[in-house]
Symmetry: C2
Subunit: 113 residues, 2 copies
Amino acid sequence: MDPLSIPLIPTDSNKPSPEFFQQFEKKFKALADEKRLEILYEITRQGSVCVCDLSETIEMKQSKLSYHLKILLDAELITKETKGTWNYYQLNYTELNTLLSEKLCCVFRADDE
Amino acid sequence: MDPLSIPLIPTDSNKPSPEFFQQFEKKFKALADEKRLEILYEITRQGSVCVCDLSETIEMKQSKLSYHLKILLDAELITKETKGTWNYYQLNYTELNTLLSEKLCCVFRADDE
DNA sequence: TTTTTATATCAAGAAAAATTGATTATAAGA
DNA sequence: TCTTATAATCAATTTTTCTTGATATAAAAA
């Protein structure tokens, strides 16, 4: 869901609605953590990773990793795919590319394939 | 200062240094607040504003406004110019455009003039 | 079917960030 | 000089977020 597709409800002097700002707040909050940026970096690099892969690259215990992945997932910056016992995470290209500059390409975002 | 100019210190397997991620954490944290996004939106719209202007557009008491402006300033997303008793704030175009997508133009970022 | 592996979730405590009202500093005006 | 206006900062409190270890769930393997 494209965050910019949220209608700019004309309240006072055409200012966007509180919901408009809240949507972005949620997404930037998800990005606003060193550890989550590192996770995003790894997903950008590796393409599709499971929690077990990540816990090898990133020094972090499993429950913590799951906690941070959930925040990225809830902000719709990444997506999840379950295969048996494994959960694979990948970038949500559309969302990240709507949000982030092309200059951040290949660090925290990538072009869709 | 361009955040991407921070050297990607090759630690383990060329992964960027903790400092690299921390810089972005700080900038995204500054963006990760509904009220600060509203402030940024107003500065984007109005170009250069003083605290007194903002407290008319945004319902927020003066000390709170100063607090949030300082966070945006410390993250180098905006700049400050003092003229007499007034402090005028404006966008740091370079920084915002390095960080944010062109799709966010005219909401939270703008092209330099 | 029992065990192991992968991962999510929960509850409690710790840490960080936000809010508030008061105070301070400084410049401009009377 | 005395007063007013602009805006930063401080200390105390509240709120939010993060971390941790334990537990739950569900699939795969033995």
